[in-house]
């Protein structure tokens, strides 16, 4: 069937609501407005205001309430309109959701799912363009998902809801309108493994979420130049699928990590470090990173586009690592 990322996400929420009475959706404008990105459009009419619950502008309050409801036996899906506003709820995410199980010596797990939009590229300027999934992937106790495909938009939510611990789902804002074919029986998917989205032997482009399409586009261009790139979609940033990353690098001996977060201290730095620690002798050349420029993301289109990873920059990095060394 033909569908969009947005519709796939909505279908996942609908299915979860139908399957399990404990599931409910809560967040700013998820009901009457239909969701800031129209993901939950129509669900209020279908499930009513108790389970499609509009909240006031209280990110700490309703995220914390979701954590509490999870402690109380529910399976809440909390929608934070965008990652930028999640900063107001970071205390609840980091100090409560991520710590309660450990602090309580294993007594209180927190089966909450928190979804939010992430990323830039839509000329929304510095306060609406953050990519902080790498930051949150720093925190033990959380699981971080970054669905980049229709299958994952459709399938990751249910698996996340079955997880006994807090799961954060980052949906890149540029993906909602992506359309394509999805199997009629598409359902839940595994959230433990990275996936090779394009096989290749010349280098590994390792990425996730919003920059998967950037990487695939670059791989297409590179193939015209005789460079055979493999593209790895990490899918889950915590825990990272080390085995998949290392297996690819063992094959290609070259790696470019693409990430829309800033370069300093970002998830790409972590991936690069892991490759260096575990596969140093497999490498023919140093690992390279393509990240966002170290600036608050600017408004003007040309400045914004220059700040963000692009397929041109990925291609340039790829040519460099292929041209260099052995």
């Amino acid at each position: 069937m033909k569908t969009t990322y947005r519709e796939a996400m909505r279908a996942a929420i609908r299915e979860a609501m139908q399957k399990d009475d404990r599931v409910f959706l809560m967040g700013e404008d998820v009901g009457r407005y239909g969701g800031g990105f129209a993901v939950s459009l129509g669900l209020l009419e279908e499930f009513g205001p108790v389970r499609i619950r509009d909240t006031p502008l209280s990110e700490a309050g309703f995220v914390g309430a979701g954590i509490g409801a999870a402690l109380g036996g529910m399976r809440p899906i909390i929608e934070i309109m965008t990652v930028n506003f999640s900063l107001l709820a970071l205390d609840q995410i980091m100090n409560n959701a991520a710590t309660l199980l450990h602090m309580s010596g294993g007594q209180f797990n927190v089966p909450v799912v928190i979804r939010m939009t992430t990323g830039g590229g839509r000329q929304l300027a510095a306060q609406h363009s953050h990519s902080l999934e790498g930051w949150l992937a720093h925190i033990p106790g959380l699981r971080i998902l970054t669905p980049a495909t229709l299958e994952d938009a459709r399938g990751m939510l249910w698996t996340a809801l079955e997880d006994p611990d807090p799961v954060l789902i980052f949906e890149h804002g540029s993906l909602y309108n992506v359309s394509g074919e999805l199997a009629d029986d598409a359902g839940s998917v595994d959230i433990d493994h990275a996936v090779v989205r394009r096989e290749g032997a010349g280098l590994s482009i390792i990425t996730y979420g919003g920059t998967l399409s950037t990487a695939l586009e670059a791989a297409e261009t590179l193939s015209g130049e005789g460079i055979d790139a493999e593209v790895i979609d990490l899918r889950t940033l915590r825990p990272l699928d080390d085995a998949a990353i290392l297996a690819s690098v063992a094959k290609t001996h070259r790696a470019v990590v693409v990430d829309e977060g800033w370069r300093s201290g970002g998830i790409s730095a972590e991936i690069s470090a892991r490759i260096t620690e575990s596969a140093f002798y497999d490498l023919d050349v140093p690992v390279t990173r393509v990240c966002s420029a170290e600036v608050p993301i600017p408004y003007a289109r040309h400045l914004e586009q220059t700040s963000l990873p692009s397929s041109e920059r990925v291609c340039a990095a790829a040519r460099e690592v292929v041209g260099a060394g052995g």
């Binding site: 409910f24 108790v50 909240t55 006031p56 209280s58 700490a60 309050g61 309703f62 995220v63 914390g64 309430a65 979701g66 954590i67 509490g68 409801a69 999870a70 402690l71 109380g72 036996g73 529910m74 809440p76 107001l88 205390d91 609840q92 100090n95 409560n96 309660l100 199980l101 450990h102 602090m103 309580s104 010596g105 294993g106 007594q107 209180f108 797990n109 033990p140 106790g141 699981r143 006994p164 611990d165």
Partner: protein
Amino acid sequence: MTDEQTAAAIVSDPEHVRYLLRQMVRVRRLEEACVEQYSAAKIRGFLHVYIGEEAVAAGVMSAIGPDDAVVATYREHGHALLRGVAANAIMAEMYGHAEGCCRGRGGSMHLFDAATRFYGGNAIVAGGLPLAVGLALADKMSGRDRVTVCFFGEGAVAEGEFHESINLAALWDLPVLFCCENNLYAMGTALDRSESQTDIALKASGYAIASWTVDGMNVLAVEESARRAIDAVRAGAGPHFLELRTYRFRAHSMFDPERYREKTEVERWMERDPIQSLRSALETHGQLSADQWSALQRGVDEEIQAAITFAENGTLEPVEELTRFVYSERTAP
């Protein structure tokens, strides 16, 4: 609560009033033991004791049922004890031992107990309020008539999470009892140096929530108010808010030189010691003989001494277990 009301309470059920006295003494002895063990370097980290404020936890805990939930702060040893967490498990936790209620991972500020629905133990000021709202939301959505009781200091009133939580609870009509322990200080910051409006019950009432001010040095007054509030919440009358006016007799924590308040102020409040007041009221009405009082003390001393012995004999969690409980342990399918 007037003297006549106190007299009436004592005369109608002296046994129960002695029980409340005993509960307060248990907390005080536990806290004194904590301070001693801290000084002996058996307990480390931050330690915040509740001495002077015992009437609040004793009164409220006596008013709630076994299925209700409790969310507290880092000054929560007494709340845990009176909620029914064993003194042994509390003391062992503070020793950092595997026999502690959180297997040594929480310490003084993070006591938890699933069996008594004691949800901590939160060391972020106001961080527990949203959790309480969510626990109550779960109960309401599931049609259960449980109540969630949430304790926090008056310092939390300045935090956004306080306002967001009271608003959500009132907006959604959730079964929460908010208990603000107004001991007049947040570390060294006096209430009137942090709030433009120092009447906290009044402030809460701005969220259209029933809120009362209660004498937090009088356990009978606390119990009576808490009971009324809990009954109302359970009957579906929406969240309630109690501002319990109390005072901490000791320093904020073990690191506090108390430069911010006069000794005379502390002494004035100590004249209203909730334990001594209730003890003398009982004696006045001939309901606490010298023998009864010493038996009560002896019983409590034994409990606390046993807890210390238990903690002393505790074991260290093996370091191989360090990374357990970061994620849930799933049995293979």
